[in-house]
């Protein structure tokens, strides 16, 4: 059995179509190359680099849209999970994530252009690293091959380490980068170790085969089950690192505090979202393969593990945010807590198993999109405040309502949305997660509902601390001078949060369609690759 594919990947497959399916990633790579060559032609100034990056992002976005349009009808054969023997997958989920990623990257780029571009002397390097991590994340959601998962996670992580410590004169950044890298390397090593065990056990690097192995061999077969459990746990450790789930979250506050705000924003959303979607894809594959009564043996404990990790992540994130004086650090802990909420949604579809209870995946997708706006807004405002005053302490926010109402009002909206209060989109995100949990009607579901609700309450307090500083604290400092573009960006985010609340349905509908498509695709994939099993899952 080959490392790379079970069959000849090119047999009967249109190469042009294949290239088209991966054109967004190819476009990202081309953009990186263009960024490398650009200084040779036009000098190292930020402007030409910015133009190249902007064009690259737009082209990638366009290509991802095209791909999404094509794969939604399953037109590319051999690539959607039906051909998961291959290394890469192009399906609505991956294309959709790439679209979101590009929108988010555009927001980060805009933030950078507003704040850092003028003083940035190493713009080419910065963007090579940023685009590199974007490429890694785009890869993470497009594969079910264990080896490529590792490659993707490393592609996403290595540039992230460097970008966190990008300003080498900044000691905090250097320390953050080192911590990030040590944690990242250890968890990558653990993950590789787990994968080696799994490969040794199953003889394949394909997650679908792994799931098939569990489905046919069962879970409780002597020492192999120990091997399987250890391998899976170690494998999930790598994902948990990206998601920053407890106990792999320690890098998160330090890295977020030390890095530039744009980078923090980028990591807080994109890295977690990619990790969660990877988790979802792997979990779905297992769900589709493992059927009752095995899912009682296998999926339920896994769901409990994910659920408990999610609840603990939430709780620790929220409690740790209590005493923070640095807003960046506070928001870092808040992002840990939100990773917990999103993992709760993951626990739902693992628990529900193969029949395809789509509510969990739908809630996860909806939450990721809403979370993107919330964090882009909150971190963006933090960035604007930091650029003006040079400090990210809570004190820097004192009297912001008077000093910069157009920053304070969107900040209140973003923070209240992060709490999950109506009438902001965060409420809708939480609502769908809670509905999905409630729909399980199980101990796990209600346990997580209670955990989520209690955590909402805990989180209120520290979000409120920022609001209190902004609105109530007297401060005689001069008005905040913020670039108009930055103000526009954060207010757009706030507006999006309001609109996504009022018009909650379209987002839900598209997420629902996407997740339903995923269930069908995954189900048909596993039934294709298995002749030993009656294929009746999904539909």
């Amino acid at each position: 059995m080959s490392f790379l594919a079970q069959t000849d990947p090119w047999a009967g497959i249109d190469v042009g179509e294949q290239l088209f399916a991966f054109s967004p990633m190819i476009a990202l790579i081309c953009t990186m190359l263009a960024v490398v060559t650009c200084p040779l032609l036009f000098g190292r100034g930020p402007r030409p680099i910015a133009i190249v990056v902007a064009v690259g992002v737009i082209v990638t976005f366009y290509l991802a849209m095209r791909v999404a349009g094509v794969v939604s009808t399953g037109a590319i054969s051999g690539l959607s999970p039906g051909g998961a023997g291959g290394m890469l997958i192009a399906d609505p989920l991956s294309a959709g994530f790439q679209i979101i990623l590009m929108v988010f990257l555009a927001g980060i780029f805009w933030l950078w252009w507003m704040g850092s571009a003028a003083t940035e002397r190493n713009a080419p390097e910065f963007f090579i690293l940023l685009l590199g991590s974007a490429l890694g994340m785009a890869l993470m959601v497009s594969t079910l091959n264990l080896l490529l998962i590792v490659v993707a996670i490393e592609t996403a992580s290595l540039p992230s380490y460097a970008i966190v410590g990008f300003d080498k004169r900044d000691k905090a950044g250097a320390e953050a980068a080192l911590k990030y890298m040590v944690f990242g390397s250890v968890s990558a090593a653990v993950m590789l170790y787990g994968i080696s065990l799994l490969y040794g056990l199953v003889g394949s690097l394909n997650v679908a085969d792994l799931a098939q192995y569990v489905a046919t061999m069962g879970f409780h077969t002597g020492e192999s089950s120990v091997l399987l459990s250890v391998g899976l746990l170690a494998f999930f450790a790598g994902i948990a690192f990206k998601v920053s789930a407890v106990p792999f979250h320690f890098w998160c506050p330090d890295a977020f505090e030390g890095a530039k705000v744009e980078v923090t924003t980028w990591l807080s959303v994109a890295s977690k979202a990619a990790g969660l979607i990877l988790l979802a894809r792997v979990a779905l594959t297992f769900c589709a393969a493992v059927e009752a009564p095995l899912n009682m043996q296998f999926l339920e404990p896994v769901a409990w593990v994910i659920g408990i990790v999610a609840a603990v992540t939430c709780t620790i994130g929220n409690f740790s945010a209590y005493k923070q004086e640095s807003v960046k650090r506070l928001l870092a802990y808040s992002s840990i807590a939100h990773a917990g909420y999103m993992m709760m949604a993951a626990a739902v579809f693992v628990y529900a198993g193969s029949p395809g209870y789509t509510a969990g995946l739908t809630a996860l997708l909806v939450y990721i999109i809403i979370y993107m706006f919330m964090n882009l807004g909150a971190f963006g405002i933090t960035a604007l405040v930091v650029w003006d005053g040079g400090s990210d302490k809570l004190d820097a926010f004192n009297g912001l309502m008077r000093r910069a109402p157009w920053l304070a009002i969107p900040m209140i909206i973003c923070l209240m949305s992060l709490v999950g209060l109506p009438p902001f989109a965060g409420f809708i995100g939480k609502w769908w997660i809670l509905v999905a949990l409630g729909g399980l009607d199980s101990t796990l579901g209600w346990f997580l509902v209670i955990a989520a609700v209690a955590n909402t309450l805990i989180s209120l307090y520290f979000y409120l601390r920022i609001v209190v500083r902004m609105v109530f604290a007297e401060d005689q400092r001069a008005a905040v001078r913020a670039p108009v573009g930055g103000i526009a960006l954060v207010n757009l985010c706030a507006l999006a949060l309001l609109l996504l609340f009022v018009f909650a349905q379209p987002l839900k509908t598209s997420a629902e369609q996407l997740s339903r498509g995923m269930y069908q695709a995954v189900a048909s994939n596993t039934s294709d690759s298995s002749s030993a099993r009656v294929a009746d899952s999904g539909s």
């Binding site: 509510a359 509905v435 209120l460 209190v468 609105v471 349905q505 509908t509 539909s539």
Partner: protein, 608 residues
């Protein structure tokens, strides 16, 4: 017809708030008058809504609501577009922007729209900093409160209910007294703590509706029908009741969880106190009345004695606490806790008389306590103190203040002829007759035993309120040095503007005290149809009897019979609690004797 009127009412303060943002250079006076104008527009629209309500009253065969509007918010679109294509895995979802008013909410809506212009008028001189933000927040609060009373979808209700927190938090925290930040935080965290539990309850109820009906619905009408048909088993009701009560009881505020209120009241600016006492506390009782009792009738019946005992403890405890307050505002705040205890007692008598009394008590309490806070605000603006020990004998200095303070005190302690009386009377009547039997079974959960201690609370109420009046108004003149402060353009006694916002309340108080019939009439239909949904209406709809006779008859003549047809197989996992609850209620399962009730029940079921 008119189905957009309520939406217009809800939206108008929001549009107004947006308008206030516009003139960046507008003077403070412009902003004040603009805010007043906007709230008056809302009030006029509300008058139109009341007129429309009377022109087209809800019929007995409908769901009791009029001026309905329904726009799918989440879910319905999905069902329409793909129809049956949806696999059984994801429920059809019916969560909508759905508004409407019935005989109860119309008057609470009216109360809100009536008090807000007066509260705005009452802040003209008191609020001198950050004027624009103040009125924007007041208008946002206005929108949320109006929305709560109009909402007919549980999620919409919850959204508005929660949103009231945010503006009031800032109103207290920015424009409040010396301890404002502590008070604001305590208020926010207390109320949110309760309402997140309510939210868990909402999620569970939605899920439960899905298991029973196959639709994930939060339509209040559907949920009420589920409660009426007994589709929710007892132990589910029990837990849901606790979850709902967590949010509503804190808002009421109910005895053990009332501690945020005196602080919030003391620290809030005058308009904040008026709105807080006048309307926001009613959100809690309204929640009980609109959700807990109709959707969870068995649990409400079962837990009514507990609620009543706590209400009575609250009545007496808060009255005693009010007695020893030094701060006049805190005294009135504790009196609110005491009075809201009466509301709860009346609601949980589960009798038409008691619930009518409770609802009109809500309106009356909003009027009298709101007015008391306005009068105290007038005193405070002049003397910069609210301590009973620092001011005294003001009647000679400010006869108008003395008149209004005594007037609203009397209204608050329930002098017959003023508005407070009718509510107190009906609440006690409902409570006393709650357990009256007709066909050899206990009808309501409460009885005479609850009335006696509650009546003691009325006496205590008279004691502390009159004592306060005496200390503040009569005796030797006591004024802190340098007061009265007329530097802000105030006169020694009330200005015409201040008289202008107190007189309308006084007139309404007299009107409701003398002739409450139109209001009470509209309650009955709503209560029998939407709240108690038992068969009481048969005996109370004769219109030619006098009001009290009708209500007495209703209270004595008809038991509350929480419907007991239980959901079948679907409720199986949760069924074991039903057995233990069953024996308590098994008697009610027997068919009722009277033909009228059968007929009215048939009428009920004919509804949509």
């Amino acid at each position: 017809m008119d189905s957009w009127l309520l939406t217009l009412i809800i939206i108008s303060p929001l549009v107004g708030a947006a308008l206030l943002l516009l003139p960046r250079r507008g003077s403070d006076a412009t902003i004040r008058w603009a805010a007043l104008g906007i709230s008056l527009i809302t009030a006029v629209l509300t008058v139109l809504a009341i007129a429309a309500f009377y022109a087209d009253p809800p019929t007995a065969s409908g769901d009791g609501f009029t001026l309905k509007a329904y726009v799918p918010w989440i879910g319905a679109e999905l069902r329409d577009s793909s129809g049956l294509d949806i696999s059984g895995n994801s429920p059809n979802i019916d969560i909508a922007y759905s508004v409407g008013i019935d005989g109860i909410s119309v008057w609470l809506l009216a109360l809100t729209a009536f008090l807000m212009p007066l509260a705005i008028l009452g802040s003209f001189t008191a609020i001198r900093t950050r004027v624009r933000e103040y009125y924007i927040l007041l208008l946002l609060l206005h929108m949320a409160m109006l929305g709560v009373f109009c909402a007919r979808d549980l999620l919409l209700f919850y959204v508005f209910f929660e949103f009231t927190l945010v503006p009031l938090y800032f109103l207290i925290g920015i424009w409040g007294g010396p301890q404002r930040r502590y008070a604001a935080n305590k208020f926010f965290i207390f109320t949110l703590a309760g309402s997140v539990l309510t939210f868990a309850g909402v999620v569970f109820l939605a899920y439960y509706a899905y298991t029973v009906r196959g639709d994930l619905t939060l339509n209040l009408w559907t949920l009420t029908e589920m409660g009426k048909n007994g589709e929710i088993p007892f132990n589910v009701q029990w837990w849901l009741f606790l979850a709902f009560a967590a949010g509503f009881a804190i808002k009421v505020p109910f005895f053990p969880v009332h501690t945020w209120l005196p602080l919030a009241h003391t620290e809030a600016p005058t308009a904040g106190s008026v709105i807080l006492a006048g309307v926001l506390l009613k959100l809690g009782t309204y929640g009980f009345c609109r959700l807990s009792i109709p959707i969870l009738p068995e649990a409400a019946f079962h837990l009514a004695p507990v609620v009543a005992v706590l209400a009575i403890i609250g009545i007496i405890y808060a009255a005693l606490a009010a007695w020893v307050q030094e701060d006049v505002k805190k005294l009135v705040a504790y009196s609110s806790v005491s009075h809201l205890g009466f509301c709860m007692l009346g609601l949980f008598s589960l009798k038409v008389a008691g619930v009518s009394g409770a609802v009109i008590y809500m309106v009356n309490h909003g009027l009298s306590t709101g007015a008391l806070f306005l009068v105290i605000g007038c005193i405070y603006e002049r003397y910069h103190t609210r301590s009973i020990y620092e001011i005294g004998g003001l009647a000679r200095q400010m006869p108008w203040v003395a008149f209004f303070l005594i007037f609203f005190t009397l209204s608050s302690i329930g002098l017959p002829g003023l508005n407070g009386f009718i509510g107190e009377f009906l609440v006690l009547l409902g409570t006393a007759t709650s357990a009256t039997t007709t066909d050899m079974k206990a009808a309501g959960p409460l009885g005479y035993g609850y009335v006696i201690p509650a009546a003691l609370g009325i006496i205590l109420g008279a004691v502390y309120m009159l004592w306060m009046c005496q200390r503040v108004l009569f005796g030797p003149l006591k004024e802190p040095a340098g007061t009265p402060d007329t530097s802000t353009g105030l006169t020694k006694d009330l200005t015409p503007r201040e008289i202008g916002f107190l007189v309308p309340i006084a007139l309404v108080c007299i009107f409701l005290g003398v002739y409450p019939k139109p209001v009470l009439d509209s309650f009955e239909g709503a209560i029998t149809q939407n709240i108690l949904h038992a068969s009481a209406e048969a005996t109370v709809t004769q219109s030619d009897e006098t009001q009290l006779e009708q209500l007495t008859a209703a209270a004595e003549g008809t038991p509350l019979n929480p419907p007991l047809v239980r959901g079948e197989a679907r409720t199986a996992p949760l069924d074991h609690g039903v057995a233990e609850s069953g024996d308590a209620r098994v008697a009610a399962d027997t068919p009722r004797g009277s033909n009228e009730s059968g007929a009215s029940e048939a009428l009920w079921r004919a509804g949509p």
